[in-house]
Amino acid sequence: MYQLLYILLLFVVGYTIGTITEKRHYANIRKREQATIKLPVLTTKQIPLFKSVEQSQLVTGNVAVSMDYFKRIVMALKSFFGGRLVLYETLVDRGRREAILRMKEQAPWADMIVNLRLETSAIGGQGARSKKSKVRSIEMFAYGTAIKFQKEGS
């Protein structure tokens, strides 16, 4: 009985802290997105403007986001039935936006970032009695080419 209560406690703590962390993270993401809105990020390989490039540089953003206990349990149960992993989607969204933001924050001097690419990998914990690795966190890696155009008339 106490073991069940212990799991329930972990569950409640995981949900509470996880929800607070997620809300704070999203608030932080939105604030920083607003602050860097003037730096456009494009997936195109070609520079879409007929301007001369003064400076270009590879910029990267890397982030690892972990799941809380609550999400882990719900996701494991959900994987039994199949369907949309709704709780996982916020994790992926947060990871992707944070990685792009970090990449943008590396190039405050740039006019534009082109050729944006995103890579995802699962960071798995391995059980003591299991050979299978389990997804407990995800890593998001964003990279692109930051460009500064030559000023007109120079």
């Binding site: 073991q3 069940l4 929800t19 999203y26 206990y69 609550f70 916020t90 059980g127 009695r129 299991s130």
Partner: protein, 281 residues
């Protein structure tokens, strides 16, 4: 080309579902699945168990004892010999007795307790041989343990445990949080199942007891004493404890046995006290 700066649209990639609602949906679905699996497994185990021969049961027990060897310390040879004789006498009243021998072993324990292990090994607490003890209490407890063999509770319990473990491991992996969670929930479920088994063993034991003594006097003494002891220690179990306990409360057991005694018109005659030479101080 004109580039219009825009923040990501939160309405597209962030799901609108509330996490708790998502959890409730998944939890409800999974609970329904577990309940169905539990009953199906119970039905299969109860159907298959009676068809398993005593030889096969003995082979299973041998496999268990290969890793957990059963050894009797024989600390109380006189009492053990007496108890074994009573056990053999009880077996003679039992028409469908298993083909393997039943063996009893007295061990030093601080409480009055007994349990029936796989393969016919019954362990008895030395506390039953305290001065003033009656043969009736001992015979009732012994025949109750024999009831577990009669209803093949070991095999059923093994079947339930193995079935659920296999299901959990197949679906979620051995050390998954879900497997641990499932095992905790089924543990509570198996406790309820275990309470039903205890009642079955009580009634079997009572019938054997009546055949042994010719009456039902003293059959409920042990349970009444334990109940009084708990009341004295103010250890009346809470509802949660009753639900999660392997054994039903002593009060319920006495009630069920008294009902059985009344139903079958068994007489209650004087109890037989244990000879002094068998007392363990």
């Amino acid at each position: 080309m004109r580039i219009i700066p825009k923040n990501p649209d939160d309405t597209v990639n962030i799901p609108k579902h509330h996490p708790l609602l998502e959890f409730l949906k998944v939890f409800l679905g999974f609970t329904i699945f577990l309940v169905i699996a539990y009953f199906v497994l119970g039905f299969v185990v109860n159907f298959v168990t009676p068809h398993i021969s005593h030889d096969t049961e003995q082979k299973i027990a041998k496999t268990i004892y290969r890793t957990h060897k059963y050894e009797c310390p024989n600390v109380y040879p006189e009492q053990q010999q007496w108890l074994q004789e009573q056990l053999n006498k009880l077996v003679s009243f039992w028409s469908d007795a298993p083909s393997f021998p039943l063996t009893v072993c007295i061990r030093k324990m601080s409480t009055r307790n007994a349990f029936a292990g796989p393969g016919g090994f019954i362990t008895f607490s030395s506390e039953f041989f305290k001065p003033g003890a009656s043969e009736n209490e001992i015979i009732m407890v012994l025949s109750h343990e024999m009831g577990h063999y009669a209803h093949r509770h070991h095999l059923k319990s093994l079947g339930h445990t193995l079935g659920f473990l296999l299901l959990s491991v197949t679906l979620f992996d051995m050390d998954s949080e879900v497997t641990q969670l499932v095992s905790k929930f089924t543990h509570v479920g198996s406790r309820q199942y275990s309470q039903a088994e205890e009642k079955e063993a009580d009634l079997f034991g009572l019938n054997l007891f009546v055949q042994y003594f010719g009456h039902a006097g003293g059959a409920t003494d042990f349970f009444l004493q334990e109940q009084k002891l708990k009341e004295k220690e103010n250890r009346n179990p809470s509802l949660i404890h009753q639900f999660t306990s392997t054994h039903p409360t002593y009060k319920k057991r006495v009630q069920a046995m008294d009902h059985w005694i009344h139903k079958h018109g068994y007489e209650k005659k004087r109890i037989t006290y244990l000879p002094e030479n068998l007392f363990i101080d």
